[in-house]
């Protein structure tokens, strides 16, 4: 009967607290951290991950955190082994800078579009791609190259996360997501590229109330959602 079936197989990605949201993140995990500067960053989840205690993390992000909260706080607490990013010098990046100068974390600098495309390749089940970006530069050192139609291309491997920490505006219990303006940035591609995609949202709404045309990340890519806004 439909009624009893729903009772046992209902799809429900909602969790009650940020602690529940980040439960199970392991030491040594690769964590995709969405955001551009301070926009579209899951700061509540990053704080919860700090409290959860996972260490030896590899962070994939565009920037390297701000001040002493969120990603910067994880770095200040020595939880981050490696940062894969395009532009660490953004805002108050003192946490990163101190660790970088002390050589207590490793920086893998990746051209910005290559970061997101490597994640997209992982999400799409591809073994990588050839890109003209970084050809003939130091950032291509050690990478396979191939001339395609007379132009040198560099082979880039897929980049998959164990976990993605994401920020969206609204979610429903299926995990469908909408974003606000440029806060969308890395969130959709990171949602697709992680084994466990965790999202903090301003508001969780009833299934059916999101405009299907406005859903930018389908819930199939999402594992856990937690409301953190004033409407939580």
């Amino acid at each position: 009967m439909a009624g009893s079936r729903l009772e046992f197989e209902v799809i429900d990605k909602r969790v009650k607290t940020v602690e529940d949201a980040v439960a199970g993140v392991r030491d040594g995990a690769t964590v995709l951290v969405a955001g551009f500067g301070i926009v579209g960053v899951a700061d509540h989840l990053l704080e919860a991950l700090h409290d959860q205690g996972a260490k030896e993390l590899t962070i994939v992000a565009n920037n390297s955190g701000n001040g002493d909260y969120g990603l910067a706080r994880l770095i200040n607490s020595g939880r981050v082994r490696k940062v894969i990013c395009s532009y660490p010098r953004s805002g108050d990046y003192s946490a990163f800078l101190n660790a970088y100068k002390a050589k207590s974390l490793e920086l893998e600098l990746v051209p910005q579009g290559t970061i997101s495309e490597r994640m997209r390749a992982a999400a799409a089940g591809l073994g990588g791609f050839f890109s003209p970006v970084s050809a003939h530069t130091r950032l291509a050192d050690g990478k396979e190259t191939r001339e395609i139609d007379g132009r040198l291309h560099v082979f880039e491997k897929p980049l998959r996360g164990d976990v993605a920490l994401l920020k969206a505006n609204k979610a429903d219990r299926w995990g469908n997501l909408t974003y606000l303006k440029s806060a969308r940035n890395f969130n959709p591609v990171m949602a697709m590229a992680a084994d466990l995609s965790i999202v903090e949202v301003d508001e969780i709404v009833d299934l059916g109330s999101l405009d299907p045309e406005a859903v930018a990340t389908p819930g199939v890519f999402v594992d856990r959602v937690v409301a953190v806004g004033a409407n939580a």
Binding site: Y87, F96, Y100, M119, V133, R138, S182
Partner: protein, 231 residues
């Protein structure tokens, strides 16, 4: 020392000059720094669409006081606006546009440019100053035309336009035009061609501040932005 018989352009005047070359209807990415200022100086009768790497298609001017939206920023993380007709895309699509040749022009800042158009703008190799490539390499190989805005010399007076870049490259052979605070210079197969110079500048004097050989265009012009912007 005698005072030079010329006045270097301000950052805004350089940005104004670059903006005059943006054709009607073009799709343009502005790099962080001086290039960002160019958005304010596009002639009013031209429609230009500004692309921002964080996924803003149709980036507008700075917000008016009281109208700031924390969810709209430009590539330099400054608060910005969306123009009427603009939209948002996610990051991989913003860079698909860059890499895939969908941008007509990108204006970029630089540390150094070579006489063959090599661009160096991502690392100074200072161990205390971490490198930051951002979208520079994507833009350098992806936009259909790369134009650079930068001061003509370092503060020490040493040239930034060199026979070969001393810093690691962002991309080889991509820069087509250089706007400096002294001149507008085209990178051509025959070498560097000065097409405009500021009042009081001579080719001989400019050459002393530039490492590779400069050629003066037959129809070179005075580089004279509105004086009101000099302040």
């Amino acid at each position: 020392m005698t005072k030079p018989a010329y006045t270097r352009l301000t950052r805004d005047q350089m940005a104004w000059r670059a903006a005059q070359d943006l054709p009607d209807g073009c799709f343009v990415n502005l790099g962080i720094g001086i290039p960002t200022l160019a958005a304010s100086y596009v002639p009013g009768d031209r429609e230009v669409i500004f692309h921002s790497e964080n996924g803003v298609i149709g980036l507008g001017p700075k917000p008016k006081p009281g109208e700031e939206d924390p969810n709209i920023t430009d590539a330099g993380k400054n608060l910005s606006t969306l123009v009427t007709g603009g939209c948002y895309v996610h990051h991989a699509d913003a860079f698909l546009m860059i890499r895939g040749g969908h941008l007509d022009v990108s204006l970029l800042g630089a540390f150094e440019v070579s006489e063959t158009g090599d661009l160096a703008n991502w690392t100074t190799e200072d161990p205390a100053f971490p490198p930051g490539v951002g979208g520079a390499m994507d833009l350098a190989v992806g936009a259909r035309e790369i134009r650079v805005l930068m001061a003509h010399t370092h503060k020490s007076g040493s040239p930034r336009i060199l026979k070969r870049c001393s810093l690691p490259l962002t991309a080889p052979g991509v820069v087509k035009r250089i706007y400096t605070d002294l001149a507008v210079i085209d990178v051509t197969p025959k070498g560097l061609v000065v097409v405009e110079m500021i009042p009081g500048m001579t080719l001989e004097l400019l050459q002393t501040m530039t490492e590779p050989k400069l050629h003066l265009a037959d129809r070179w012009q005075a580089l004279a932005p509105p004086q009101a912007m000099a302040a």
